[in-house]
């Protein structure tokens, strides 16, 4: 089975976000970059599937050269090879076109992504890619089992979950508890250095949105502390001051 896993290179979840260049660029000073947490779940499940029944796992990132350490980490976790499309991921439509171009050429049995990226939180690239390829898409996927050409998976719905069946190939946006995040071991890290990381130039593609600028939220006011023996005061404040109950 040939699996393609699409990963993002995003600020660590504990990062403080700020911007530069007149609020048009992320200020990456002091920011630690990671594989998107949802993409990391997708990757972990892909590696498990490969270990259980053979095949290959290729990771794909659309990004500039600074994403390579993140791609190497995915190789250390257990992917066999990697492709980087050498372009800044301007918008979801642009990224989806790049991924679809790679997928068309590679004939993958399964394309796994994260439910959403944690920078742009679009939750849309998987649907776009699937539509471009004429394949089914399912998201968010919490469980994925493959038996021959058939997959059984469970998808989160509001207030519950549903179990689905479909045939390969398809595109899935993954989330926990599909697998546990894998931490690369020493052998993985050593072997990642020599695994193939192919850099391709982007396919001709459009964008459909244009960034004006970024903004930060207004700072939060002071917290009002209430004595634990005076919960009536809290009720009064919620009612009369905050007016939320």
């Amino acid at each position: 089975m040939k699996i393609l896993v699409c990963i993002t290179h995003v600020p660590d979840t504990t990062s403080k976000i700020s911007f530069s260049d007149n609020n048009t660029k992320l200020n990456s000073a002091g920011v630690q970059f990671i594989i998107g947490p949802y993409d990391d779940y997708a990757l972990a499940r892909a590696v498990e599937l490969k270990e259980a029944s053979g095949g290959t796992v290729t990771v794909l990132n659309v990004g500039e050269a600074d994403t390579e350490p993140t791609i190497r980490k995915a190789l250390a976790i257990g992917a066999d090879d990697a492709i980087r499309i050498n372009a800044f991921p301007t918008d979801s439509y642009f990224v989806a076109q790049q991924i679809a171009a790679v997928a068309k050429e590679g004939n993958y049995d399964l394309i796994l992504m994260g439910r959403e990226s944690i920078d742009f939180n679009g939750g849309m690239v998987h649907g776009m890619v699937a539509e471009m390829l004429g394949l089914p898409s399912v998201s968010p996927v919490m469980k994925l089992d493959i038996d021959g050409g058939k997959a059984t998976l469970s998808r989160e719905i509001e207030g519950g979950k549903e179990t689905l069946e479909l045939n390969l190939p398809f595109v899935a946006g993954c989330q926990e508890p599909i697998a546990e995040w894998k931490i690369p071991n020493m052998r993985g890290i050593m072997s990642a250095r020599t695994k193939k990381l192919e850099v391709r130039e982007p396919a001709q593609a459009e964008t459909k949105t244009k960034l004006d600028n970024y903004e930060l939220p207004a700072p939060k006011g002071e917290v009002k502390m209430i004595d634990k023996d005076n919960v009536d005061e809290l009720v009064r404040l919620l009612k009369n001051e905050a007016k939320v109950i």
């Binding site: 920078d119 849309m124 399912v138 998201s139 509001e158 549903e162 479909l166 919960v231 809290l234 905050a242």
Partner: protein, 318 residues
């Protein structure tokens, strides 16, 4: 010009978030608003769309669409866009709406921007503000395509009721076998509960509650407030609570008017899911818990003591 709004239901009623999407469509002031509903539902319920600003509801009365199937839904939505000639499509952010809209954007060669927090700025171009970095920032983006699909976050507009009712028109959409390539085998769902992403008030518990057997007081408090219940990630990881209740960076992002956090430390990944709440109340026995920095009101105390008292006080105040 016209606006098409994709609406969803829960427990037989139009979801509140979908009513907000209708209100948003009306507030855009870009022509008549038509709502699109897929699957079987009580007609009187659909007429209510008029109360929030829809002139008409297109109803695809097909039982195969009673459950959300991403491909079938996107086929129908694309057909409805073509039929109505809509230049703007609005929908509420949801586990179904997002992937459906993504596919539709490709089908109709349009653009889709999700997590939009307010009405567009139409002075020169069409610009919207969307939440990014899991609520840590906003991006102002211009949508440059002909047809624009807007996924709105909760509370993007206020709900005003006009008292009107919508006319209902049956819409016979064309569906093929390929649209049903994904087969639903089983659905496990709690009916009747307040849905977490929809809730105006959320009561959440963390590891400080020590075990699943102690959730009774959280549920009682939620019941008093008509709230949904949520939890932190370790709580759902340990199986104390179902996964769909997990709030945060890697879980549900909520934006209620009131979020009450009990025995949750306030790790940045948890805050990422709640930082667009209007008012945050934190109950924690550790006065140095980071959550207090993100809170509007705080009580330092033992949850086992404070929560039942608070519940009593709320009930008395009703």
């Amino acid at each position: 010009m016209s606006v098409l709004v994709f609406i969803e239901s829960a427990d037989g009623a139009i979801k509140k978030s979908s009513l907000e999407a209708i209100a948003y469509g009306a507030a855009m002031n870009q022509g008549d608003v038509t709502a699109l509903f897929l699957g079987q539902i009580d007609q009187a319920e659909l007429e209510k769309a008029g109360n929030f600003g829809a002139a008409k509801v297109l109803h695809v009365n097909d039982e195969r669409l009673n459950n959300g199937i991403i491909q079938a839904y996107s086929s129908v939505l694309a057909q409805a866009i073509e039929k109505t000639g809509a230049r703007f499509v609005v929908l509420a952010k949801s586990a179904l709406g997002d992937p459906v809209a993504a596919r539709v954007a490709i089908k109709i060669n349009g653009s889709f921007v999700s997590n939009v927090t307010g009405l567009p700025d139409t002075n020169g171009g069409f610009k919207v503000t969307r939440s990014i970095y899991t609520g840590k920032a906003f991006a102002n983006v211009e949508m440059t395509s002909d047809v624009k699909i807007i996924g709105i976050r909760k509370n993007a507009v206020e709900l005003n009721e006009s008292g009107s009712s919508a006319t209902i028109e049956t819409f016979d959409a064309q569906l093929s076998d390929a649209d049903f390539g994904v087969q639903i085998k089983n659905i496990e769902k709690q009916e009747g509960d307040v849905l977490l992403p929809e809730a105006d008030i959320v009561v959440s518990g963390g590891r400080g509650l020590k075990g699943p057997e102690n959730w009774g007081m959280i549920e009682d408090l939620a019941k008093t407030l008509g709230a949904a219940t949520g939890c932190s990630k370790p709580v759902s990881d340990m199986g104390w609570r179902p996964h769909h209740e997990h709030v945060g960076q890697t879980g549900v992002k909520v934006s209620p008017t009131l979020y009450i956090a009990v025995g949750i430390s306030g790790a940045i990944q948890h805050l990422a899911g709640v930082n667009s709440s209007k008012v945050i109340v934190v109950i924690n026995k550790d006065e140095d818990a980071p959550f207090f920095k993100a809170a509007d009101y705080g009580i330092v105390g033992d949850a086992f003591e404070v929560v039942p008292k608070l519940n009593e006080a709320l009930r008395a105040a009703k």
